[in-house]
Symmetry: C2
Subunit: 466 residues, 2 copies
């Protein structure tokens, strides 16, 4: 077999059976080997950002990695913005990027570029596989790297000769290293802090849905602390029956107001709160200046173990979390407005749906009424790089074909990765896409005021009135 | 004035009066300052690749730089593929990329990323302006860097506080360093080589149009050498009256055949010939193994001086270049075919048009008949990263509103940067766009055979039958 086939076999043996692909010439041996491995589902994407965003959506719903197949430096570059979003989501993604042969790279051919530089700008782990016998072991290491630390971006560069020359066979894939756990003394300190007045437990990542959200909710119920999530999260269970979790706000003043009473903050799977942008005269850190901050468990540590230890330490194991009630509005009538779209969504969203929300300036009127809609998993544009919505919905729908997926997207962001509509159709996915076409660069109008530029004239207005 | 305004003033004083912009919050002070500077033409682009590709097209037609305005690391990443094409075209581009304030970067906010790493992967020159007083002098340096070496990629990172804090004023822009010239002894050696049987003068960059193409043509006429250009070039004058310049081929075998008789090759403004991809058992270098290679003038050296010195040395100053004749076909009738579209283009293309050719697999039937169509400037996808066509045509049409621009694009590549159609409409540009919708991933079908995979089954076919 050749190097490419040894990689496909390694992926399959390592539990990676889905590949979002935008291949070119240098990946043809990988593509050719697919015919001998029908158990590898290769999903064509007509733009690289569609592939990387779909791998992100896949991870968010499966909690395990898919691969992407991309074409040289420019191909990886086209997928970079959604890898940025995936990285901020804490999603594991394994990129396989084809490159020229080693001897071809000695010359200045059109597609030659700084592929490793492009990769390092976003990947936690980058390796160039030098020859065919290295491809399988490097692939196994890449899988392990992508699964490490609760999900990382790993990029394997597959040079053309390493793909087409003879290789001995697949390599075994080792499990990722066990994530670090906090010192028990820190758990004890966190439990003590959470019992104080003005305490908040800030959670993120896997703590926002499923069993871990339940555990976090028990801790909050028992200690009386608030349970808060960042504004943009990878995946959060929302709606009737979901554990009540507050979410930070986009606007700095609103976020500062939200956290005004916080005296003690414990971070569990979450980074330190920070505003989206910085503005003249406004803080980057939204919590009150005197608040204590306890970093219990970093996002790449063992969040499950930590939450369970915290529940034990606080005696919360039998507590009942506060939950959201069911309160759906009547389906609205009359002329369309954002509020009515939000009410319609709240009225009609089916139980257990997956919602990818990249509606940006339209987001609030959609999120408020759906707080008490039927329970669903909601996913957000974690890195703020637009163009995530449609690809992420594609990957999520492939990962969970048993559930209905809804993509909410702005018109500007939809255009960034519009090719994902083709993949949805091609793969016959159950995705409902709603495009919020405000026909303007709406967010900038607000942001201009935020940076102390209240008025603008015709030359600046040409940037917003699109 | 603030740092942003000091930059706008520096750009204008330095002769940069056009900015292709996809701004976000961190660039709002730059946008606000536009109202006080109506002589800065800021062209909104709804995708960053549209902005960088337009700046490339602008440079190809003007021979001088435009600016782009982009938003943090993900914004620059979205523009990276077309910056790759610009770099391969030898185009100068000045990117201004907004970033968070220094103190905001201390925290893990959503859009924070390795902006400098993204930039360094494609830029010749990258600088982070640390504070407002540095912005104008750094901007002046950036302009100089972008104009150096016949055109380079320069990226200035403008942190938000450096944009909004007080700055003393604009900075003077120094001319770029004079490009290096070859040693006269090398010119003499080149002249000697070109008089030999089997000699070829390989030219690229500014040598492919205007006065320098005339000079190169005289040298060829006088010495009897062949005049050859790479397959993908930044801009070449083609059609009736243009100097006869052969072009390399995409297919390796055809390219090897084209160069089979070359015994002595002189490179002037051109890199060493290299095939687009490498394939098993085929050479990366297309010239015959025994051919001598003389590197007369690298692409970043003084190509004009060198060609004129070569004309003097060969006594070619008064020679008459071989030129292409006018031979336009009758406008075709009957059912559509690629050949008929090529004939229609050859019949109808107006004198002095600008043609951006990203038609990829459709390219050959369009290029053969237009060899003898009316004279036009043709531009190609120099870096092989698709999505150049529409943005490049946008920038070219803005640079030369007096000429008709035609964009030839594949359906797959058009989707990469489709938002450029909006900019063309918004700016009321005279661009005719022809999309070659073959509804397949056509090039890969051929490439699979090229890499010795003659047959493929249903799982691989899913990648091509799109």
């Amino acid at each position: 077999m050749n190097g490419a086939e040894s990689l496909v076999k390694t992926l399959l043996a390592g539990g990676v059976d889905t590949c979002f692909a935008n291949p070119g010439t240098s990946e043809m041996h990988f593509v050719a080997s697919l015919d001998r491995h029908p158990d590898m589902r290769c999903v064509p994407c007509l733009f690289e950002g569609g592939a990387t965003g779909a791998a992100d959506g896949w991870y968010r719903m499966r909690g395990d990695i898919a691969a992407t197949l991309l074409h040289l430096g420019p191909g990886l570059a086209n997928g970079l913005a959604n890898l940025h979003n995936a990285r901020k989501a804490g999603s594991g993604v394994l990129n396989v990027v084809g490159d020229h042969t080693e001897w071809h790279l000695a010359h200045e051919s059109p597609l030659r570029g700084d592929l490793e530089g492009v990769s390092r700008a976003v990947s936690h782990w980058t390796r160039v596989s030098p020859d065919a016998p290295s491809v399988a072991p490097d692939g196994a290491e890449a899988i392990r790297a992508a699964r490490s630390g609760n999900g990382r971006i790993a990029t394997l560069v597959l040079r053309a000769h390493a793909a087409w020359e003879d290789a001995p066979g697949p390599a075994p894939v080792a499990p990722p290293p066990a994530p670090r756990r906090p010192d028990p003394a820190v758990v004890t300190a966190a439990a003590r802090a959470l019992r104080r007045p003005g305490a908040a437990l800030m959670i993120d990542g896997p703590a926002l849905h499923g069993d871990l959200a339940e555990t976090a909710g028990r801790v909050a119920a028992k200690t009386g602390c608030r349970l808060i999530a960042p504004f943009l999260v990878s995946r959060i269970a929302r709606g009737a029956g979901a554990v009540r979790i507050e979410r930070e706000r986009y606007a700095v003043d609103e976020n500062v107001a939200l956290l005004a009473d916080v005296e003690h903050m414990v971070l569990c799977g979450a980074g330190r709160p920070v505003t989206f942008f910085s503005y003249p005269g406004k803080p980057s850190l939204p919590e009150p200046p005197g608040a204590t901050m306890l970093d219990l468990c970093a996002p790449d540590m063992d969040i499950g173990w930590t939450l369970r230890a915290l529940a034990d330490e606080t005696g919360a194991t039998g507590a009942e979390p506060a939950r959201m009630p069911l309160d759906t509005p009547a389906p609205p009538a009359g002329p369309m407005s954002l509020e009515k779209v939000g009410a319609a969504l709240a009225a009609l969203l089916p139980e257990n749906a997956i919602v990818v929300d990249e509606s940006i300036t339209a987001s609030r009127p959609l999120n408020v009424p759906t707080d008490t809609a039927r329970r669903a998993d909601w996913m957000y544009c974690t890195g703020g790089a637009i163009g995530l919505g449609l690809p992420c919905a594609t990957g999520a729908a492939l990962a969970r074909p048993d559930r209905k997926t809804v993509a909410l997207t702005g018109d500007g962001s939809a255009m960034y990765t519009l090719q994902s509509l083709w993949t949805m159709a091609r793969e016959n996915l159950g995705v409902l896409t709603i495009v919020f076409a405000n026909r303007g660069y709406q967010i900038l109008r607000g942001e201009l005021a935020n940076v102390d530029v209240p008025d603008y004239g015709p030359n600046a207005a040409r940037m917003f009135d699109v």
